[in-house]
Protein backbone atom coordinates (compact mmCIF):
# COMPACT_ATOMS: atom_id res chain seq x y z
CA UNK A 1 0.00 0.00 0.00
CA UNK A 2 2.77 2.41 1.00
CA UNK A 3 4.47 2.14 -2.36
CA UNK A 4 1.20 2.70 -4.02
CA UNK A 5 0.47 5.77 -1.93
CA UNK A 6 3.87 7.20 -2.78
CA UNK A 7 3.25 6.54 -6.43
CA UNK A 8 -0.09 8.32 -6.25
CA UNK A 9 1.52 11.26 -4.47
CA UNK A 10 4.15 11.43 -7.18
CA UNK A 11 1.43 11.38 -9.83
CA UNK A 12 -0.41 14.20 -8.06
CA UNK A 13 2.81 16.26 -8.11
CA UNK A 14 3.14 15.52 -11.82
CA UNK A 15 -0.42 16.72 -12.44
CA UNK A 16 0.33 19.89 -10.50
CA UNK A 17 3.38 20.53 -12.67
CA UNK A 18 1.25 20.08 -15.78
CA UNK A 19 -1.29 22.52 -14.36
CA UNK A 20 1.36 25.18 -13.85
CA UNK A 21 2.95 24.65 -17.25
CA UNK A 22 -0.38 24.59 -19.10
CA UNK A 23 -1.76 27.73 -17.49
CA UNK A 24 1.54 29.53 -17.83
CA UNK A 25 1.63 28.58 -21.52
CA UNK A 26 -1.95 29.68 -22.03
CA UNK A 27 -1.38 32.99 -20.26
CA UNK A 28 -4.69 32.66 -18.44
CA UNK A 29 -6.61 30.17 -16.32
CA UNK A 30 -7.33 29.14 -12.75
CA UNK A 31 -4.34 27.54 -11.03
CA UNK A 32 -5.58 27.71 -7.42
CA UNK A 33 -8.60 25.44 -7.77
CA UNK A 34 -6.74 22.91 -9.92
CA UNK A 35 -3.93 22.62 -7.39
CA UNK A 36 -6.35 22.14 -4.48
CA UNK A 37 -8.14 19.33 -6.34
CA UNK A 38 -5.07 17.52 -7.69
CA UNK A 39 -4.91 14.80 -5.02
CA UNK A 40 -8.60 13.94 -5.31
CA UNK A 41 -8.43 13.82 -9.10
CA UNK A 42 -5.31 11.65 -8.93
CA UNK A 43 -6.94 9.20 -6.52
CA UNK A 44 -9.99 8.93 -8.74
CA UNK A 45 -8.23 8.41 -12.07
CA UNK A 46 -5.23 6.36 -10.93
CA UNK A 47 -6.77 4.20 -8.23
CA UNK A 48 -10.49 4.42 -7.63
CA UNK A 49 -12.38 4.60 -10.90
CA UNK A 50 -13.09 1.80 -13.35
CA UNK A 51 -12.33 3.33 -16.73
CA UNK A 52 -10.62 2.59 -20.02
CA UNK A 53 -8.76 5.40 -21.79
CA UNK A 54 -8.91 3.43 -25.04
CA UNK A 55 -12.70 3.30 -24.80
CA UNK A 56 -13.90 6.63 -23.39
CA UNK A 57 -17.56 5.83 -24.11
CA UNK A 58 -17.52 2.41 -22.43
CA UNK A 59 -21.07 2.20 -21.02
CA UNK A 60 -19.93 0.50 -17.78
CA UNK A 61 -17.25 3.07 -16.92
CA UNK A 62 -17.38 4.95 -13.65
CA UNK A 63 -18.19 8.59 -14.33
CA UNK A 64 -16.43 11.70 -13.09
CA UNK A 65 -18.32 14.97 -13.15
CA UNK A 66 -16.09 17.98 -12.69
CA UNK A 67 -18.69 20.49 -11.62
CA UNK A 68 -16.18 23.24 -10.86
CA UNK A 69 -15.34 23.53 -14.55
CA UNK A 70 -12.59 26.09 -14.03
CA UNK A 71 -10.42 23.26 -12.64
CA UNK A 72 -10.33 21.81 -16.16
CA UNK A 73 -6.50 21.87 -16.33
CA UNK A 74 -6.06 19.28 -13.59
CA UNK A 75 -8.62 17.02 -15.26
CA UNK A 76 -6.90 17.42 -18.65
CA UNK A 77 -3.58 16.59 -17.02
CA UNK A 78 -5.04 13.41 -15.51
CA UNK A 79 -6.70 12.38 -18.78
CA UNK A 80 -3.46 12.92 -20.72
CA UNK A 81 -1.43 10.94 -18.19
CA UNK A 82 -4.01 8.13 -18.42
CA UNK A 83 -3.68 8.14 -22.21
CA UNK A 84 -7.05 9.54 -23.30
CA UNK A 85 -5.21 11.86 -25.69
CA UNK A 86 -1.58 12.75 -26.54
CA UNK A 87 0.44 14.65 -23.92
CA UNK A 88 1.22 17.28 -26.56
CA UNK A 89 -2.38 18.46 -26.38
CA UNK A 90 -1.71 19.93 -22.92
CA UNK A 91 0.28 22.82 -24.39
CA UNK A 92 -2.73 23.80 -26.51
CA UNK A 93 -4.92 24.66 -23.49
CA UNK A 94 -7.18 27.65 -24.21
CA UNK A 95 -5.62 28.30 -27.62
CA UNK A 96 -7.62 28.74 -30.81
CA UNK A 97 -8.50 25.39 -32.33
CA UNK A 98 -7.72 23.38 -29.17
CA UNK A 99 -9.67 20.40 -27.87
CA UNK A 100 -8.88 21.61 -24.35
CA UNK A 101 -11.24 24.53 -23.79
CA UNK A 102 -10.90 27.01 -20.93
CA UNK A 103 -13.76 25.21 -19.24
CA UNK A 104 -14.65 21.59 -20.01
CA UNK A 105 -16.50 20.76 -23.23
CA UNK A 106 -17.90 17.25 -23.53
CA UNK A 107 -18.04 17.46 -27.32
CA UNK A 108 -14.34 18.15 -27.75
CA UNK A 109 -12.29 16.27 -25.17
CA UNK A 110 -12.07 12.47 -24.98
CA UNK A 111 -12.89 11.37 -21.44
CA UNK A 112 -14.84 14.51 -20.54
CA UNK A 113 -18.48 13.58 -19.97
CA UNK A 114 -19.83 16.95 -18.92
CA UNK A 115 -19.54 20.50 -20.18
CA UNK A 116 -19.13 22.78 -17.19
CA UNK A 117 -18.17 26.34 -16.36
CA UNK A 118 -21.47 27.75 -15.24
CA UNK A 119 -21.31 26.69 -11.61
CA UNK A 120 -23.79 24.62 -9.66
CA UNK A 121 -24.99 22.24 -12.36
CA UNK A 122 -22.69 19.22 -12.15
CA UNK A 123 -24.30 17.54 -9.16
CA UNK A 124 -27.67 17.50 -10.94
CA UNK A 125 -26.09 16.13 -14.12
CA UNK A 126 -24.40 13.42 -12.04
CA UNK A 127 -27.74 12.53 -10.48
CA UNK A 128 -29.04 11.90 -14.00
CA UNK A 129 -26.12 9.54 -14.64
CA UNK A 130 -26.69 7.75 -11.33
CA UNK A 131 -30.42 7.36 -12.07
CA UNK A 132 -29.59 5.89 -15.48
CA UNK A 133 -27.30 3.33 -13.81
CA UNK A 134 -30.11 2.25 -11.54
CA UNK A 135 -32.64 2.01 -14.39
CA UNK A 136 -30.23 -0.05 -16.47
CA UNK A 137 -29.11 -2.27 -13.57
CA UNK A 138 -25.52 -1.19 -14.03
CA UNK A 139 -23.00 -1.09 -11.22
CA UNK A 140 -20.89 1.86 -12.37
CA UNK A 141 -20.44 4.63 -9.86
CA UNK A 142 -20.62 8.39 -10.30
CA UNK A 143 -18.16 10.77 -8.67
CA UNK A 144 -18.60 14.52 -8.51
CA UNK A 145 -16.21 17.28 -7.60
CA UNK A 146 -17.81 20.48 -6.33
CA UNK A 147 -16.08 23.69 -5.37
CA UNK A 148 -16.90 25.29 -2.04
CA UNK A 149 -17.68 28.67 -3.62
CA UNK A 150 -19.91 26.77 -6.02
CA UNK A 151 -22.08 25.73 -3.08
CA UNK A 152 -23.44 29.30 -3.03
CA UNK A 153 -25.55 28.28 -6.02
CA UNK A 154 -29.15 27.36 -5.23
CA UNK A 155 -29.19 24.46 -7.67
CA UNK A 156 -26.65 22.60 -5.51
CA UNK A 157 -29.27 22.46 -2.77
CA UNK A 158 -32.04 21.41 -5.14
CA UNK A 159 -29.80 18.50 -6.08
CA UNK A 160 -28.80 17.95 -2.45
CA UNK A 161 -32.49 17.40 -1.64
CA UNK A 162 -33.08 15.15 -4.61
CA UNK A 163 -30.28 12.59 -4.22
CA UNK A 164 -31.10 11.30 -0.71
CA UNK A 165 -34.83 11.38 -1.50
CA UNK A 166 -34.03 8.98 -4.31
CA UNK A 167 -31.57 6.95 -2.22
CA UNK A 168 -28.75 7.34 -4.73
CA UNK A 169 -26.06 5.30 -3.01
CA UNK A 170 -24.11 4.99 -6.27
CA UNK A 171 -23.24 8.69 -6.08
CA UNK A 172 -20.23 10.10 -4.22
CA UNK A 173 -19.56 13.81 -4.01
CA UNK A 174 -16.33 15.53 -3.08
CA UNK A 175 -16.39 19.16 -2.02
CA UNK A 176 -13.03 20.80 -2.57
CA UNK A 177 -13.29 22.99 0.53
CA UNK A 178 -10.31 25.26 -0.11
CA UNK A 179 -11.87 28.24 1.62
CA UNK A 180 -11.37 30.74 -1.17
CA UNK A 181 -13.47 31.97 -4.05
CA UNK A 182 -12.91 34.66 -6.67
CA UNK A 183 -13.68 37.64 -4.46
CA UNK A 184 -12.03 36.41 -1.28
CA UNK A 185 -12.35 33.98 1.61
CA UNK A 186 -15.48 31.85 1.46
CA UNK A 187 -16.18 32.61 5.11
CA UNK A 188 -16.38 36.32 4.26
CA UNK A 189 -18.13 36.14 0.88
CA UNK A 190 -20.85 33.68 1.88
CA UNK A 191 -20.13 31.44 4.81
CA UNK A 192 -21.13 27.82 4.25
CA UNK A 193 -20.96 26.87 7.90
CA UNK A 194 -22.24 24.80 9.51
CA UNK A 195 -21.45 22.98 6.27
CA UNK A 196 -21.40 19.42 7.55
CA UNK A 197 -24.71 19.97 9.33
CA UNK A 198 -26.29 21.32 6.15
CA UNK A 199 -25.54 18.15 4.20
CA UNK A 200 -26.43 15.93 7.13
CA UNK A 201 -29.79 17.68 7.54
CA UNK A 202 -30.42 17.00 3.85
CA UNK A 203 -29.94 13.29 4.71
CA UNK A 204 -26.50 12.75 3.24
CA UNK A 205 -23.84 10.60 4.81
CA UNK A 206 -21.08 13.11 5.51
CA UNK A 207 -17.38 12.30 5.74
CA UNK A 208 -14.71 14.88 6.45
CA UNK A 209 -11.13 14.44 5.36
CA UNK A 210 -7.90 16.19 4.63
CA UNK A 211 -8.18 16.44 0.86
CA UNK A 212 -4.42 16.25 0.42
CA UNK A 213 -4.00 13.00 2.37
CA UNK A 214 -4.07 10.20 -0.17
CA UNK A 215 -4.85 7.55 2.44
CA UNK A 216 -7.83 9.51 3.72
CA UNK A 217 -9.14 10.09 0.21
CA UNK A 218 -8.96 6.38 -0.61
CA UNK A 219 -10.44 5.17 2.65
CA UNK A 220 -13.33 7.65 2.47
CA UNK A 221 -14.27 6.35 -0.97
CA UNK A 222 -14.06 2.76 0.29
CA UNK A 223 -16.50 3.70 3.04
CA UNK A 224 -18.79 5.43 0.54
CA UNK A 225 -18.86 2.35 -1.69
CA UNK A 226 -20.03 0.16 1.15
CA UNK A 227 -22.80 2.44 2.33
CA UNK A 228 -26.30 1.54 1.17
CA UNK A 229 -29.42 3.67 0.87
CA UNK A 230 -28.00 7.16 0.71
CA UNK A 231 -25.44 9.24 -1.16
CA UNK A 232 -22.16 10.28 0.43
CA UNK A 233 -20.56 13.69 0.48
CA UNK A 234 -16.88 13.89 1.34
CA UNK A 235 -15.97 17.34 2.59
CA UNK A 236 -12.33 17.54 1.64
CA UNK A 237 -10.44 20.26 3.46
CA UNK A 238 -7.88 21.55 1.04
CA UNK A 239 -5.53 24.44 0.43
CA UNK A 240 -6.11 26.59 -2.61
CA UNK A 241 -2.93 26.71 -4.65
CA UNK A 242 -1.57 23.65 -2.78
CA UNK A 243 2.08 22.88 -3.48
CA UNK A 244 3.19 26.30 -4.66
CA UNK A 245 4.20 28.52 -1.75
CA UNK A 246 3.16 31.87 -3.19
CA UNK A 247 -0.14 30.54 -4.51
CA UNK A 248 -1.26 28.80 -1.34
CA UNK A 249 -4.24 30.56 0.26
CA UNK A 250 -3.69 33.48 -2.10
CA UNK A 251 -6.90 34.70 -3.68
CA UNK A 252 -4.95 36.33 -6.52
CA UNK A 253 -4.26 32.90 -8.00
CA UNK A 254 -7.90 31.91 -8.30
CA UNK A 255 -7.85 33.08 -11.87
CA UNK A 256 -4.37 34.38 -12.74
CA UNK A 257 -1.63 32.68 -14.73
CA UNK A 258 1.89 32.68 -13.30
CA UNK A 259 4.48 34.68 -15.24
CA UNK A 260 7.73 33.12 -16.44
CA UNK A 261 9.69 33.66 -13.24
CA UNK A 262 6.81 32.46 -11.07
CA UNK A 263 6.42 29.40 -13.28
CA UNK A 264 10.06 28.46 -12.74
CA UNK A 265 9.76 28.80 -8.98
CA UNK A 266 6.49 26.85 -8.95
CA UNK A 267 7.91 23.99 -11.00
CA UNK A 268 10.96 23.84 -8.75
CA UNK A 269 8.75 23.61 -5.67
CA UNK A 270 6.72 20.85 -7.27
CA UNK A 271 9.72 18.85 -8.48
Amino acid sequence: MADNIQELEATARKLRRHVITMISDAGSGHPGGSLSAADIVTALYFKIMRHDPKNPHWPDRDRFVLSKGHAAPVLYAALAECGYFPMEWLSTLRKTGTCLQGHTDSLLTPGVDVSAGSLGQGLSFAIGIALAARMDNKDYRTYVLLGDGECDEGQIWEAAMFAPNNKLDNLTVFVDYNGLQLDGFTKNIMSLEPFKDKWRSFNWEVLEINGHDMRQILSSVEKAKKLRGKPVVIIAHTVKGKGVSFMENNVDYHGKAPNKAETEIALRELA
Binding site: S115, S118, G122, F125, G128, M135, Q155
Partner: protein
Protein backbone atom coordinates in the same frame (compact mmCIF):
# COMPACT_ATOMS: atom_id res chain seq x y z
CA UNK B 1 -56.02 3.47 -30.37
CA UNK B 2 -56.38 6.95 -28.93
CA UNK B 3 -58.62 9.43 -30.76
CA UNK B 4 -56.40 12.49 -30.53
CA UNK B 5 -58.98 14.84 -32.08
CA UNK B 6 -60.89 14.93 -28.81
CA UNK B 7 -57.91 16.01 -26.72
CA UNK B 8 -56.12 19.18 -25.69
CA UNK B 9 -52.56 19.36 -27.00
CA UNK B 10 -51.22 18.55 -23.54
CA UNK B 11 -53.51 15.53 -23.25
CA UNK B 12 -52.34 14.37 -26.67
CA UNK B 13 -48.75 14.71 -25.44
CA UNK B 14 -49.44 12.66 -22.33
CA UNK B 15 -51.19 9.91 -24.26
CA UNK B 16 -48.56 9.77 -26.98
CA UNK B 17 -45.80 9.40 -24.39
CA UNK B 18 -47.57 6.34 -23.03
CA UNK B 19 -47.96 4.92 -26.53
CA UNK B 20 -44.28 5.47 -27.42
CA UNK B 21 -43.03 4.40 -24.00
CA UNK B 22 -44.51 0.95 -24.44
CA UNK B 23 -41.87 -0.16 -26.94
CA UNK B 24 -39.20 2.47 -26.49
CA UNK B 25 -37.75 1.78 -23.05
CA UNK B 26 -35.18 4.55 -23.41
CA UNK B 27 -37.87 7.18 -22.92
CA UNK B 28 -37.73 8.78 -19.49
CA UNK B 29 -40.00 11.60 -18.33
CA UNK B 30 -39.22 14.30 -15.76
CA UNK B 31 -41.71 16.73 -14.27
CA UNK B 32 -41.54 19.48 -11.67
CA UNK B 33 -44.67 18.92 -9.58
CA UNK B 34 -47.11 19.73 -12.39
CA UNK B 35 -47.61 16.28 -13.97
CA UNK B 36 -51.35 16.52 -13.33
CA UNK B 37 -51.39 19.63 -15.53
CA UNK B 38 -48.75 18.76 -18.14
CA UNK B 39 -50.38 15.31 -18.43
CA UNK B 40 -47.15 13.42 -17.91
CA UNK B 41 -49.18 11.79 -15.13
CA UNK B 42 -50.30 9.17 -17.66
CA UNK B 43 -46.70 8.14 -18.25
CA UNK B 44 -46.02 8.22 -14.49
CA UNK B 45 -48.87 5.81 -13.92
CA UNK B 46 -47.93 3.50 -16.80
CA UNK B 47 -44.16 3.36 -16.25
CA UNK B 48 -43.37 4.57 -12.72
CA UNK B 49 -39.75 3.38 -12.98
CA UNK B 50 -39.10 5.74 -15.88
CA UNK B 51 -40.87 8.77 -14.43
CA UNK B 52 -38.83 11.15 -12.30
CA UNK B 53 -40.64 13.55 -10.02
CA UNK B 54 -38.29 16.46 -9.40
CA UNK B 55 -40.47 18.60 -7.18
CA UNK B 56 -40.44 22.34 -7.74
CA UNK B 57 -36.85 22.46 -8.93
CA UNK B 58 -36.70 23.13 -12.63
CA UNK B 59 -32.98 23.85 -12.77
CA UNK B 60 -32.15 20.54 -11.14
CA UNK B 61 -34.65 18.81 -13.42
CA UNK B 62 -33.07 20.03 -16.65
CA UNK B 63 -29.54 19.08 -15.61
CA UNK B 64 -30.70 15.64 -14.42
CA UNK B 65 -32.42 15.12 -17.77
CA UNK B 66 -29.15 15.89 -19.53
CA UNK B 67 -27.25 13.45 -17.31
CA UNK B 68 -29.77 10.74 -18.20
CA UNK B 69 -29.45 11.60 -21.89
CA UNK B 70 -25.66 11.28 -21.63
CA UNK B 71 -26.30 7.62 -20.75
CA UNK B 72 -28.49 6.95 -23.78
CA UNK B 73 -31.89 7.94 -22.44
CA UNK B 74 -34.37 10.07 -24.37
CA UNK B 75 -35.32 12.60 -21.71
CA UNK B 76 -38.66 14.38 -21.85
CA UNK B 77 -38.82 17.36 -19.49
CA UNK B 78 -42.14 18.98 -18.75
CA UNK B 79 -43.44 21.93 -16.83
CA UNK B 80 -45.28 25.14 -17.70
CA UNK B 81 -43.75 27.12 -20.56
CA UNK B 82 -42.86 30.14 -18.40
CA UNK B 83 -40.81 27.97 -16.07
CA UNK B 84 -39.41 25.73 -18.79
CA UNK B 85 -37.93 28.77 -20.47
CA UNK B 86 -37.16 31.53 -18.01
CA UNK B 87 -36.55 29.57 -14.83
CA UNK B 88 -33.87 27.22 -16.11
CA UNK B 89 -32.45 28.92 -19.17
CA UNK B 90 -28.81 28.62 -18.12
CA UNK B 91 -29.23 24.92 -17.34
CA UNK B 92 -30.77 24.42 -20.78
CA UNK B 93 -27.89 26.34 -22.35
CA UNK B 94 -25.10 24.52 -20.48
CA UNK B 95 -26.49 20.99 -20.18
CA UNK B 96 -28.64 20.64 -23.29
CA UNK B 97 -27.90 23.18 -26.03
CA UNK B 98 -24.10 23.40 -25.92
CA UNK B 99 -23.40 19.67 -25.41
CA UNK B 100 -26.25 18.82 -27.83
CA UNK B 101 -27.83 16.28 -25.48
CA UNK B 102 -30.92 14.29 -26.42
CA UNK B 103 -33.36 16.23 -24.23
CA UNK B 104 -36.89 17.19 -25.27
CA UNK B 105 -38.37 20.11 -23.36
CA UNK B 106 -42.12 19.82 -23.82
CA UNK B 107 -43.79 22.78 -22.15
CA UNK B 108 -47.50 23.22 -21.66
CA UNK B 109 -49.53 26.33 -20.84
CA UNK B 110 -47.74 28.40 -23.49
CA UNK B 111 -48.79 31.88 -24.54
CA UNK B 112 -51.47 34.20 -23.21
CA UNK B 113 -54.32 31.70 -23.64
CA UNK B 114 -53.33 30.31 -20.23
CA UNK B 115 -55.62 33.22 -19.40
CA UNK B 116 -56.85 33.83 -15.89
CA UNK B 117 -53.57 32.97 -14.13
CA UNK B 118 -52.14 36.26 -15.32
CA UNK B 119 -48.75 37.47 -16.53
CA UNK B 120 -46.61 35.31 -14.20
CA UNK B 121 -47.99 32.24 -15.99
CA UNK B 122 -48.22 33.59 -19.53
CA UNK B 123 -45.16 32.52 -21.50
CA UNK B 124 -44.61 35.14 -24.18
CA UNK B 125 -40.80 35.05 -24.35
CA UNK B 126 -40.22 31.30 -24.58
CA UNK B 127 -39.99 30.96 -28.35
CA UNK B 128 -37.49 33.81 -28.65
CA UNK B 129 -35.35 32.30 -25.91
CA UNK B 130 -35.35 28.79 -27.35
CA UNK B 131 -34.89 29.98 -30.94
CA UNK B 132 -31.77 31.80 -29.75
CA UNK B 133 -30.08 28.55 -28.69
CA UNK B 134 -27.76 26.78 -31.14
CA UNK B 135 -28.55 23.06 -31.68
CA UNK B 136 -32.19 23.49 -30.59
CA UNK B 137 -35.23 22.85 -32.75
CA UNK B 138 -38.42 24.67 -31.76
CA UNK B 139 -41.93 23.47 -32.53
CA UNK B 140 -45.42 24.76 -31.75
CA UNK B 141 -48.07 22.27 -32.91
CA UNK B 142 -51.38 23.65 -34.16
CA UNK B 143 -53.68 21.00 -32.71
CA UNK B 144 -53.78 17.74 -30.76
CA UNK B 145 -53.33 15.56 -33.84
CA UNK B 146 -50.23 17.43 -34.93
CA UNK B 147 -49.00 17.28 -31.33
CA UNK B 148 -49.10 13.49 -31.40
CA UNK B 149 -47.14 13.48 -34.67
CA UNK B 150 -44.64 16.00 -33.28
CA UNK B 151 -43.98 13.96 -30.15
CA UNK B 152 -43.31 10.90 -32.27
CA UNK B 153 -40.99 12.88 -34.56
CA UNK B 154 -38.96 14.41 -31.73
CA UNK B 155 -38.58 11.00 -30.14
CA UNK B 156 -37.17 9.67 -33.40
CA UNK B 157 -34.87 12.66 -34.01
CA UNK B 158 -31.72 12.86 -31.90
CA UNK B 159 -31.00 16.26 -30.36
CA UNK B 160 -32.53 19.04 -28.29
CA UNK B 161 -36.12 20.11 -28.92
CA UNK B 162 -38.46 22.66 -27.40
CA UNK B 163 -42.13 21.92 -27.98
CA UNK B 164 -44.71 24.44 -26.82
CA UNK B 165 -48.23 23.24 -26.06
CA UNK B 166 -51.34 25.01 -24.87
CA UNK B 167 -53.52 24.82 -21.81
CA UNK B 168 -56.95 25.06 -23.39
CA UNK B 169 -58.53 23.02 -26.16
CA UNK B 170 -57.26 23.90 -29.61
CA UNK B 171 -59.61 23.58 -32.63
CA UNK B 172 -58.83 20.54 -34.75
CA UNK B 173 -57.02 21.33 -38.01
CA UNK B 174 -55.76 17.91 -39.00
CA UNK B 175 -58.95 15.86 -38.76
CA UNK B 176 -57.91 14.10 -41.95
CA UNK B 177 -54.44 13.25 -40.63
CA UNK B 178 -51.13 15.02 -40.26
CA UNK B 179 -47.93 14.44 -42.16
CA UNK B 180 -45.64 16.40 -39.83
CA UNK B 181 -41.97 16.74 -40.68
CA UNK B 182 -39.49 18.69 -38.57
CA UNK B 183 -38.59 21.91 -40.36
CA UNK B 184 -41.39 21.73 -42.93
CA UNK B 185 -44.28 24.19 -43.05
CA UNK B 186 -47.65 22.73 -43.85
CA UNK B 187 -49.76 24.30 -46.59
CA UNK B 188 -53.33 24.31 -45.33
CA UNK B 189 -54.97 26.50 -47.94
CA UNK B 190 -53.76 27.88 -51.25
CA UNK B 191 -54.41 31.34 -52.61
CA UNK B 192 -52.62 33.99 -54.63
CA UNK B 193 -53.41 37.35 -53.00
CA UNK B 194 -51.60 37.08 -49.68
CA UNK B 195 -50.08 34.50 -47.32
CA UNK B 196 -50.95 34.12 -43.66
CA UNK B 197 -48.23 32.33 -41.70
CA UNK B 198 -49.33 31.28 -38.24
CA UNK B 199 -48.20 29.00 -35.48
CA UNK B 200 -49.89 27.16 -32.62
CA UNK B 201 -53.30 28.32 -31.51
CA UNK B 202 -53.33 31.08 -34.16
CA UNK B 203 -53.40 28.62 -37.07
CA UNK B 204 -57.12 27.97 -36.70
CA UNK B 205 -57.67 31.73 -36.38
CA UNK B 206 -55.73 32.23 -39.61
CA UNK B 207 -57.94 29.70 -41.38
CA UNK B 208 -61.07 31.46 -40.11
CA UNK B 209 -59.72 34.81 -41.34
CA UNK B 210 -58.88 33.31 -44.75
CA UNK B 211 -62.37 31.90 -45.05
CA UNK B 212 -63.90 35.26 -44.24
CA UNK B 213 -61.59 37.09 -46.67
CA UNK B 214 -62.56 34.66 -49.42
CA UNK B 215 -66.05 36.16 -49.11
CA UNK B 216 -64.50 39.50 -50.15
CA UNK B 217 -62.74 37.85 -53.06
CA UNK B 218 -59.33 37.85 -51.32
CA UNK B 219 -57.66 34.46 -51.74
CA UNK B 220 -55.13 33.64 -49.01
CA UNK B 221 -52.49 31.00 -48.76
CA UNK B 222 -52.32 29.71 -45.19
CA UNK B 223 -49.14 28.14 -43.84
CA UNK B 224 -48.91 26.36 -40.51
CA UNK B 225 -45.35 27.13 -39.45
CA UNK B 226 -45.21 24.64 -36.60
CA UNK B 227 -41.42 24.43 -36.74
CA UNK B 228 -39.91 27.83 -35.94
CA UNK B 229 -36.38 26.46 -35.93
CA UNK B 230 -35.04 25.28 -38.29
CA UNK B 231 -37.28 27.61 -40.27
CA UNK B 232 -38.67 26.47 -43.62
CA UNK B 233 -37.12 29.23 -45.75
CA UNK B 234 -38.27 27.66 -49.00
CA UNK B 235 -41.92 27.71 -47.96
CA UNK B 236 -41.69 31.37 -46.93
CA UNK B 237 -39.91 32.45 -50.09
CA UNK B 238 -42.26 30.44 -52.31
CA UNK B 239 -45.28 31.98 -50.57
CA UNK B 240 -43.86 35.49 -50.89
CA UNK B 241 -43.08 35.09 -54.56
CA UNK B 242 -46.51 33.61 -55.33
CA UNK B 243 -48.67 35.95 -53.23
CA UNK B 244 -46.55 39.12 -52.85
CA UNK B 245 -47.75 39.89 -49.31
CA UNK B 246 -47.30 38.13 -45.97
CA UNK B 247 -49.00 38.32 -42.57
CA UNK B 248 -47.71 36.49 -39.50
CA UNK B 249 -49.70 35.70 -36.35
CA UNK B 250 -48.44 34.22 -33.11
CA UNK B 251 -49.22 34.07 -29.43
CA UNK B 252 -45.83 35.51 -28.47
CA UNK B 253 -43.91 38.76 -28.30
CA UNK B 254 -43.30 40.34 -31.69
CA UNK B 255 -39.59 40.38 -30.89
CA UNK B 256 -37.83 37.11 -31.51
CA UNK B 257 -40.75 34.92 -32.53
CA UNK B 258 -42.36 33.90 -35.81
CA UNK B 259 -42.74 37.51 -37.06
CA UNK B 260 -39.06 38.27 -36.50
CA UNK B 261 -37.94 35.04 -38.13
CA UNK B 262 -40.15 35.53 -41.20
CA UNK B 263 -39.01 39.16 -41.47
CA UNK B 264 -35.40 38.00 -41.48
CA UNK B 265 -36.03 35.47 -44.24
CA UNK B 266 -38.04 37.91 -46.37
CA UNK B 267 -35.71 40.88 -45.98
CA UNK B 268 -32.65 38.85 -46.94
CA UNK B 269 -34.20 36.72 -49.67
CA UNK B 270 -37.46 38.04 -51.08
CA UNK B 271 -38.73 41.35 -49.68
CA UNK B 272 -42.51 41.78 -49.84
CA UNK B 273 -44.92 43.75 -47.62
CA UNK B 274 -45.11 42.07 -44.21
CA UNK B 275 -47.56 42.66 -41.36
CA UNK B 276 -46.80 40.92 -38.05
CA UNK B 277 -49.34 40.25 -35.33
CA UNK B 278 -48.19 39.38 -31.84
CA UNK B 279 -47.79 40.88 -28.42
CA UNK B 280 -46.23 44.30 -28.65
CA UNK B 281 -43.58 44.61 -25.93
CA UNK B 282 -45.79 44.38 -22.87
CA UNK B 283 -47.04 41.86 -20.30
CA UNK B 284 -50.68 40.87 -20.40
CA UNK B 285 -53.23 40.55 -17.62
CA UNK B 286 -55.69 37.98 -16.28
CA UNK B 287 -58.73 37.32 -18.43
CA UNK B 288 -60.52 34.86 -20.65
CA UNK B 289 -58.29 33.51 -23.44
CA UNK B 290 -60.48 34.84 -26.29
CA UNK B 291 -60.70 38.26 -24.66
CA UNK B 292 -56.94 38.42 -24.18
CA UNK B 293 -56.35 37.43 -27.80
CA UNK B 294 -58.76 40.15 -28.98
CA UNK B 295 -57.18 42.75 -26.69
CA UNK B 296 -53.80 41.96 -28.24
CA UNK B 297 -54.91 42.17 -31.84
CA UNK B 298 -54.93 38.42 -32.37
CA UNK B 299 -58.57 37.84 -33.35
CA UNK B 300 -59.56 36.65 -36.83
CA UNK B 301 -60.75 40.17 -37.67
CA UNK B 302 -57.28 41.53 -36.83
CA UNK B 303 -55.69 39.05 -39.22
CA UNK B 304 -58.18 40.05 -41.92
CA UNK B 305 -57.32 43.71 -41.46
CA UNK B 306 -53.60 42.93 -41.59
CA UNK B 307 -54.08 41.02 -44.84
CA UNK B 308 -55.90 43.97 -46.42
CA UNK B 309 -53.13 46.32 -45.22
CA UNK B 310 -50.38 44.08 -46.59
CA UNK B 311 -52.11 43.77 -49.96
CA UNK B 312 -52.51 47.57 -50.13
CA UNK B 313 -48.74 47.95 -49.68
CA UNK B 314 -47.91 45.71 -52.66
Amino acid sequence: MTDYSELTTRDAYGQMLVELGKDNHNIVVLDADVSRSTMTKYFAAAYPDRFIECGLAEQNMVSIAAGLASCGKISFVSTFAVFASCRCFDQVRMCVAQPNTNVKIVATHGGITVGEDGSSHQAIEDLALYCSLPNFSVIVPADSIETAAVIKAVTDTVGPFYVRLARSKTPVIYGAGCDFKVGKASLLLDGSDATIIATGMLVSTALAAAKSLAGEGIRCRVLNMSTLKPIDREAIIAAASRTGAVVTAEEHLLHGGLGSIVAQVLSTSHPVPLESLGINDHYCKSGKPEELLAMNGLAASDIEQAVRAAIKRK
